[in-house]
C-alpha cells in the first residue's frame, strides 16, 4: 500500500542466507488470494522456514527468535531471486518490514519492493557483514535509514553508507506516490508516441 517513507529507524531481523528466492518468501500455495491483503501474506512470510509441517513455529528460524524484531530485514546477497510474484513484497510489508538491507537484490523483486513501499537498500558486502555481526551480538542495535539523504547508518558503530535511489523514485517514496499516478498523467505523450511510431506491431 502507498505510504510515505522518509526516516526508518529500527532494530533489525538478521537473515544471513544468500539467494533467498521468492518461493521461500511466500510459497506459491499462498498466491491464490485475489485480494491484496498484506496482513494475510505477512502471516505467511517465510512460511515453510517459519513453521513446521504440523503448523507449530520452527524455533530455530529468526522470525521466531524473541531476541530479534523491527522494521528492517537484513538479508544475504541476491535477495528475492526467482519468481516475479509481488506477493513476496506484500508479505514483507504485511509482516511489518519497511526496508530490506542486502548487498544485492534480484531485479524484479527490487522493483516490486519499491512499488510496494518497502525500501530495498543496497550496501557493500563489508558493511552488510558488519551489520550482521553487530545485530547478532546485540539485537538492540538500531539502524537509521534516511531516504532524503540516501544514507544508512549503524547507530551502534556510527558507520554510514550512501545508497542508490533514483530521484524520481525518491520523490515517489517521500510523497507516497506511485508510478500509476505518474503514468496516467502522460496520456498525451503516449498518444503522440503511438502516432509517430515507425513500426507499430
Amino acid at each position: 500500500m502507498k505510504r510515505k517513507l522518509d526516516i526508518i529507524e529500527s532494530t533489525c531481523v538478521p537473515l544471513p542466507l544468500e539467494n533467498v528466492d521468492t518461493d521461500q518468501i511466500i510459497p506459491a500455495r499462498f498466491l491464490k488470494s485475489t485480494t491484496r491483503d498484506e496482513r494475510f501474506f505477512g502471516e505467511n512470510l517465510f512460511r515453510d522456514w517459519r513453521y513446521r509441517a504440523d503448523g507449530t513455529p520452527e524455533p530455530s528460524f529468526v522470525l521466531n527468535d524473541p531476541r530479534f524484531g523491527g522494521e528492517i530485514l537484513l538479508a544475504g546477497r541476491n535477495f528475492g531471486s526467482g519468481s516475479s510474484r509481488e506477493h513476496a513484497a506484500w508479505a514483507l510489508a504485511g509482516y511489518g518490514f519497511k526496508a530490506v538491507i542486502s548487498s544485492f537484490f534480484a531485479d524484479i523483486h527490487k522493483n516490486n519492493e519499491l512499488n510496494s513501499f518497502v525500501l530495498p537498500v543496497v550496501v557493500s558486502e563489508d558493511f552488510l557483514a558488519e551489520l550482521f555481526a553487530t545485530v547478532q551480538a546485540d539485537p538492540a542495535t538500531r539502524v537509521r535509514i534516511d531516504v532524503e539523504a540516501q544514507t544508512v547508518t549503524s547507530l551502534t558503530t556510527g558507520r554510514c553508507e550512501h545508497f542508490e535511489l533514483n530521484a524520481y523514485k525518491k520523490y515517489c517514496l517521500l510523497n507516497a506516490l506511485d508510478d500509476i499516478d505518474y503514468l496516467v498523467l502522460q496520456q498525451d505523450k503516449i498518444e503522440s508516441f503511438e502516432k509517430s511510431r515507425q513500426h507499430a506491431l
Binding site: 544485492f104 508510478d179 506491431l201
Partner: protein, 454 residues
C-alpha cells in the same frame, strides 16, 4: 550500443523520466490468473479502464487442473482465481482464452504459437518466465502486479534500462544435449545472479542451430541467471515458425513486417557491457543436485565438494556423490520450459519400445491444447501409451504445484521445469531439473540415467 536490445528498447521509449527510469511503451501484455486480480482491483479503485485493450491477452494457466478440464475446478480457491480472470477480462473488454478454449495453455507457450509474440515487440507479463518470448527477437520481461496495473492503465511501464550481455555458444552440441542442457550449463557457469541487471542476447552457431522450440527453452531460463530477459535475433527459423500463425501479419502486412524484422540484429560494431563465449562441445546432458537452478552438473558427474550444505541437506545428498543410479519417484515433462512439441517428440523417441519403470509416477503435461493436438496428430500419444505413459491436459502443473499436481514431501522428481527451489513442487519435494531426454531415461529405468547410454 547498437545491439539488438538497444534498437528495440530505444524504439519504445516514450520519454526519459527526469532523474529516473524510461517510460517504455508495451506492445503486448499477457495476464494470467495469479498475478493480475490485484491489478484489476487497482484499476477499479482508481476508476480507470485499460488504455489499449486490444494489446492485452488473458489466459488461466497456473491453477488449471491437468485432467477433467471440462468440469468445474474442484479446488474452490483455484476456481475463484480462474473465474476472477474471466470476469475481469469480460468487464474490461480483453481477449480471454479460458479453460477448454482450444487456444488455452501456458501463456509462454501460447503467445509464440498463436503469433502474438513477434520480433521487435516489447512484451511483459506478471511472470518471470516472460523472458521466453525473447526467442522471437523481442524484448520480453517479467514484471510485478503493480507494473501489470501500470501497463493496463497506460500501456507503458517505468523501467530503468538494463545493461547488455551477449552469450555466444559456438560449435555443435554432442548427442542428447538439448537447449535445456545449454541453459543449465550457462546457469552453472554464471550462477543464479550472474546476469542480474543485464539483458542477454544469445548468439553463436549452437544457438543459430536451435529450432524455435529450443530457442524458447533457452530464453525461458534467462531469468534463472538473474537476467531481466534473453533474446535471439530473428532469422529464417523465426520467420518460418511465424508464417500463417493466427495473429501473425498476413499478406502485404507480412511482407512489410518481414522487411522490418530482417533489420533486427546487433550491428557488427555492437558493444555489449559484458560478453561470454562457450564451446558447445564442453556441454553434456545436465542435471541439478541442489535447490537453485545454478546448482547443476553433467548427469554423469559428481556433486562438487563445496556444494551448499543447506541445499544438500534438503536434497539428502552428500558432497562428492554421483547421482547416476539413484532411484526416482516422479518424472514431470512439461512447463513453459519444456512443454512444446519438440520436447514430447524427444521424450517419445527415447521411451519408444521401452516401458515406464514400475516405481515411477510420470506426469506428461503439454504446454497448450495446440501442443496436445500436435502430439495426437503425430501419433506421439500412441507411442507414449504403448510405453505405459498417460498424457494429461495442459497447464503449468507440477512446475509450481498450484493445482493438484504436487510432489509429496521427500520424494525425488526429475523435472523438465525451471526451478528446483525448496518446496517449489510441493512442501518438502525434491526437484532435479533436467531435459526431456534425461527425464525420459529416468522414467523408463526408474533411476537417474545418462540418456546417451540407452
Amino acid at each position: 550500443m547498437n545491439t539488438l536490445f538497444d534498437k528495440i528498447w530505444d524504439a519504445h521509449v516514450v520519454q526519459h523520466v527526469d532523474g529516473g527510469p524510461d517510460q517504455l511503451y508495451v506492445d503486448r501484455l499477457y495476464c494470467h490468473e495469479v498475478t493480475s486480480p490485484q491489478a484489476f482491483d487497482g484499476l477499479r479503485a482508481r476508476s480507470l479502464r485499460p488504455l489499449r485493450p486490444e494489446r492485452i491477452f488473458c489466459m488461466p494457466d497456473h491453477n488449471t487442473p491437468t485432467h477433467d478440464q471440462d468440469k468445474p475446478i474442484a479446488d474452490s480457491v483455484s476456481k475463484a482465481q480462474v473465474d476472477a480472470l474471466s470476469r475481469n477480462a469480460a468487464e474490461f473488454g480483453l481477449t480471454h482464452f479460458g479453460m477448454m478454449d482450444p487456444r488455452n495453455g501456458i501463456i509462454h507457450v501460447v503467445g509464440p504459437e498463436r503469433g502474438l509474440s513477434l520480433p521487435g515487440m516489447t512484451i511483459v507479463c506478471g511472470d518471470s518466465h516472460t523472458s521466453t518470448h525473447g526467442a522471437m527477437g523481442a524484448v520480453a520481461f517479467g514484471i510485478g502486479t503493480s507494473e501489470v496495473e501500470m501497463v493496463l492503465a497506460s500501456q507503458c511501464i517505468l523501467q530503468p534500462k538494463p545493461r547488455t550481455m551477449r552469450i555466444r555458444i559456438e560449435g555443435t552440441p554432442g548427442p542428447c544435449v538439448t537447449a535445456k542442457d545449454l541453459a543449465l550449463y550457462l546457469m552453472q557457469q554464471l550462477t543464479t545472479s550472474g546476469a542480474t541487471g543485464y539483458f542477454v542476447e544469445y548468439a553463436g552457431s549452437a544457438v543459430r542451430g536451435l529450432s524455435m522450440e529450443g530457442r524458447l527453452t533457452l530464453c525461458n531460463l534467462s531469468i534463472e541467471m538473474g537476467a531481466r530477459g534473453g533474446m535471439v535475433a530473428p532469422d529464417e527459423v523465426t520467420f518460418a515458425y511465424l508464417k500463417d500463425k493466427e495473429y501473425a501479419p498476413k499478406g502485404a502486412d507480412w511482407d512489410r513486417a518481414l522487411a522490418f524484422w530482417r533489420t533486427l540484429h546487433s550491428g557488427d560494431d555492437a558493444v555489449f557491457d559484458k560478453e561470454y563465449c562457450f564451446d558447445a562441445a564442453d556441454i553434456a546432458p545436465m542435471i541439478t543436485y541442489g535447490t537453485n537452478p545454478g546448482m547443476g552438473m553433467p548427469v554423469d558427474g559428481a556433486i562438487p565438494p563445496e556444494a551448499s550444505p543447506k541445499a544438500l541437506q534438503y536434497m539428502d545428498f552428500q558432497p562428492g556423490e554421483r547421482l547416476l543410479g539413484k532411484p526416482v519417484d516422479y518424472v514431470f515433462l512439461g512447463a513453459c520450459t519444456n512443454g512444446r512439441i519438440e520436447d514430447f517428440r524427444g521424450f517419445a523417441a527415447l521411451v519408444k519400445g521401452r516401458r515406464k519403470a514400475a516405481g515411477v509416477t510420470a506426469w506428461l503435461v503439454p504446454g497448450s491444447w495446440e501442443v496436445y493436438r500436435q502430439i495426437v496428430a503425430e501419433g506421439i500419444d500412441q507411442i507414449l501409451a504403448g510405453a505405459g505413459f498417460e498424457l494429461r491436459q495442459p497447464g503449468c502443473s507440477a512446475c509450481l504445484a498450484m493445482n493438484d499436481d504436487k510432489i509429496p514431501s521427500g520424494k525425488y522428481c526429475v523435472s523438465t521445469s525451471n526451478r528446483n527451489f525448496e518446496g517449489r513442487q510441493g512442501p518438502g519435494a525434491r526437484t532435479l531439473l533436467a531435459s526431456p531426454l534425461v527425464a525420459a531415461a529416468a522414467a523408463v529405468t526408474g533411476v537417474i540415467t545418462d540418456p546417451r547410454t540407452l
